[in-house]
């Protein structure tokens, strides 16, 4: 229907702008909570240093927050500009979730962020603390709604196709809200945000400790970050495992691709730690496997199969054939045929309508597909294994490295010797990028692993795009590249400048660079 280039360019633009947006989101999620914790300590103890901590880390948060706001706007525009058919097809479900995010989260964040920065002298201590926590709650609520929306794209429940309006419509809001995939994703993702904030504060505080600057300030920040970080990283890992379990039930192809599991092996399946996936020959070279583990992760049992990619592809063939029947009857319904057997035939097969639409890539009519075409479409349901296999392992490696760092720093904080463990401080500085790498690879696994669908099993990606020309897409991609590059340079410059200045940027006269030699 559309040239592959339109679909490719649209995907590239969405992928890059979404990943770019997510450079700023996790830090906002984490920093607002850390600011809330620091300010709570300030209100409880009345110690000025905690107020200075809120103000200084708040400055860094502000530099990041502006970018989050800027790049978030893009995403809201982009469903309409670039994914118009998607917006028509699932707007009935996806739209309200986004609107709910606006009402409940965006307003909370953006109304109170101004008071957070400018309300210090106009609010009582407790009032200001409340503002800070509302800001934190707002950011996490925002994540809740967008992950319910994303969870629905991965595992669409509580909706069905309406042949009169030619789109999906909501049947149960409760099912959509309590979608197990969404709930697990939400906790996994916000906890990853908390880890990002913790790693950021921990790393920068370590740098001050290494340079023997602002010790009291840095030590207190360091210990808050290590404790909050440890709790968060444990949640991320536990919920990541839970994510594996829900995928085992709902997104079998993605899970099998992550594991490079071509064949269905007798239960319990073993976990491939390492290897080289070979898509063409459908095998994994030099695989190193741990027995039982995949079966345990995906099914929580020792006697259930984890289906391999080849068997899952065979299942797709059956669903495509059923989807062709659905599509055929839909055409008749649309032409005004009132025969009740057509309606019942359609209802019988409509769950597979999306699989029928996969054929649109090869034949506009759908119903005339031959066995070879069906096989091609079925093959499309198997994601590209190697990119998923590797990004997943990078994410997990980052997670466990951070678990190690937070466990060690927490332990040494508790025993009050963290300052002396210079190797650990250095490691904390160098590992600042890890949470970002983990978050970006994690989203890659989730979204790339859903291909060829935008809505899993319902709407193929190649159908979802707007009717645009390649020129228009190059215009927008060029614009994003230009603005995002310039903004990133400016943001990094400011961030580094303020990190170097440290708390002296508050001009209180109490910190490094401000004290006159006696």
């Amino acid at each position: 229907m559309f040239g592959d280039d339109i679909v490719m360019l649209s995907r590239m633009q969405f992928g890059l702008t979404a990943l770019y947006h997510f450079l700023f989101v996790p830090l906002t999620l984490g920093m607002t909570f850390i600011l809330g914790i620091m300010e709570s300590v300030y209100v409880m103890t009345g110690k000025q240093v905690y107020k200075d901590m809120v103000k200084f880390w708040g400055k860094l948060f502000g530099i990041n927050f502006a970018m989050g706001v800027t790049t978030g706007l893009t995403l809201e525009f982009q469903f309409g500009t670039n994914w118009a058919y998607y917006s028509h097809y699932v707007g009935d479900i996806f739209g309200p979730l986004l609107a709910a995010e606006g009402w409940m989260a965006f307003f909370l964040e953006s109304t109170f962020v101004g008071l957070f920065f400018f309300g210090w002298d106009r609010l009582s201590k407790v009032q200001h603390l409340t503002v800070t926590w509302l800001l934190a709650v707002g950011t996490s609520l925002s994540a809740l709604w967008i992950l319910i929306a994303n969870g629905w794209m991965q595992h669409p429940v509580g909706a069905e196709f309406n042949y009169e309006t030619l789109r999906m419509e909501m049947t149960s809001f409760a099912d959509i809200f309590f979608n197990p995939v969404a709930q697990v994703k939400f906790v996994h993702t916000v906890a990853a945000g908390y880890v990002t904030g913790s790693m950021f504060v921990l790393g920068i505080s370590s740098w001050y400790l290494l340079h023997k600057r602002d010790l009291g300030f840095a030590r207190r920040s360091f210990s808050i970050a290590s404790a909050f970080g440890l709790a968060s990283v444990l949640s991320v890992i536990i919920l990541g495992d839970e994510s594996g379990y829900t995928s085992g039930e709902t997104q079998k192809l993605k899970l099998a691709a992550i594991e490079s599991e071509w064949e269905t092996h007798p239960a319990p399946a073993s976990f491939t730690v390492f290897g080289f996936p070979d898509q063409e020959n459908e095998k994994t070279d030099f695989a190193i496997k741990i027995p039982y583990v995949l079966g345990l992760i995906a099914t929580r049992s020792l006697d259930e199969d984890v289906k391999g990619l080849k068997d899952l592809r065979d299942e797709s063939v059956g669903r495509i054939k059923s989807g062709m029947v659905a599509y055929d009857n839909l055409q008749k319904l649309r032409a005004g045929d009132k025969n009740p057997t057509i309606k019942s035939r359609f209802d019988e097969h409509k769950a597979d309508l999306g699989y029928g639409l996969l054929l649109k890539k090869y034949t506009d009519k759908v119903v005339d597909a031959d066995a070879a075409t069906i096989a091609k479409a079925a093959n499309d349901t198997v994601p590209k294994v190697a990119p998923l296999f590797w990004t997943f392992r990078i994410m997990v490696a980052c997670g466990f490295t951070m678990l190690f760092i937070f466990a060690m720093t927490f332990y040494y904080c508790a025993t009050r010797v963290a300052d002396q463990k210079r190797w650990l401080l250095r490691m904390a500085v160098w590992c600042i990028p890890l949470p970002w790498i983990a978050a970006e690879t994690g989203w890659f696994v989730a979204e790339f692993g859903r291909q060829p669908w935008t809505i899993s099993g319902i709407l193929p990606t190649h159908m979802s795009v707007s009717s645009l020309s390649a020129d228009q897409l190059w215009f927008s991609i060029g614009g994003f590249a230009l603005f995002y590059t310039v903004l990133l340079i400016i943001e990094m410059y400011l961030m580094l400048k303020y990190v170097r200045l440290g708390p002296s940027s508050l001009h209180t006269g109490r910190y490094c660079f401000e004290q006159q030699p006696a």
Partner: protein, 379 residues
Amino acid sequence: MFDYETIRLIWWVFIGVVGIAFALTEGFDFGVGTLLPFIGKNDVERRVIMNTVGATWEGNQTWLILLGGAIFAIWPAVYATLFSGLYVAMLLVLFSLFFRPAAFDYRSKIEDPRWRNSWDWSLFIGSSLPPILLGVLVGNLILGLPFHFDQDLRSFYEGSFWALLSPFALLCGVTGLLLTTFHGALFLKWRSEGAIHARAVTVVTALGPMLLFALAVTTLWVFVGIDRPEITQMAATDAPSNPLHKTVIAKGATWFQHFMAYPWMWLAPIAAFVGIGLAWLLGKGESRMGAFIASSLGVVGVALSVGFALFPFLLISSTDPGSSLTLWDGTSSHSTLLLGFWITIIFLPIVLLYTRFVYRIMWGSVTEATVLKDSHTLY
């Protein structure tokens, strides 16, 4: 609770409310940003101007985000058609909005005059381009857009970005900019003292007549120069949303006759002219809050005039009138509209309540003394 027809009408009102809230609040933010480099003659003055909206611009901008989200949720076909059809224009709006958060947050973080000057002009672009582009957009809503749906309800757009810039649409763009600048000048006049206050009065005095003239020409042009399509046959107002189930003729009753058919609709243009006229008269004198309230009435009047004029259309197709979207056949399902209704009924008052709290806390003029005292925390 509500039947499908009623809830569709309620949502037309709700989206109008969100649109008006956006025009009112972001409207004066845009105006203040547009005037920044002209009214502020030195760094301290510019900081004073920025800080009159400093703590609240972000909340105000959320009305735009909510407007987008609500249209997506309630009128998905409108969202899909408008945003993809006007691809380049929408991206230009987006790109110009990029300038705003960074300009506010980054400007005063470095003392270099060139740095600060660049951000001042960035804020100017980010505050003046969107009202122009949104004005052009409104003009094209009246003129109709060249789109149609195929059998799968996929929308196709036949125009280009340049085709949007017709003389009438450009006039609407200019009117949009005049409106936000006038509204912003009155806000600035209210919340500042001394030299800035005096310059804001000068701007109000000069812009008032220009804005009234532009509005009068626009209105006249709509009444005598533009065709209005008319629905001759359509499915019931509570039928499933499918825009292809109706017949529309390109040239029906005129826009004037449309207003005559619903005489109460005249209240909107009357509010627009009276509000802005009054704001001008009061704004030239001593009045601060009174003049701003009058111009707010004017902004509401302008927004309502556009909504009423289009009723029951949401998007008019100029090339295939039958594909036009109306508030009866362009909505989401009944259950989604009801769900959205409850979310709105609960959260709209809460949002208004805490927005009011924030405005109350930040009440009062910003002066040079305030800016100099909090030099390291303010914008």
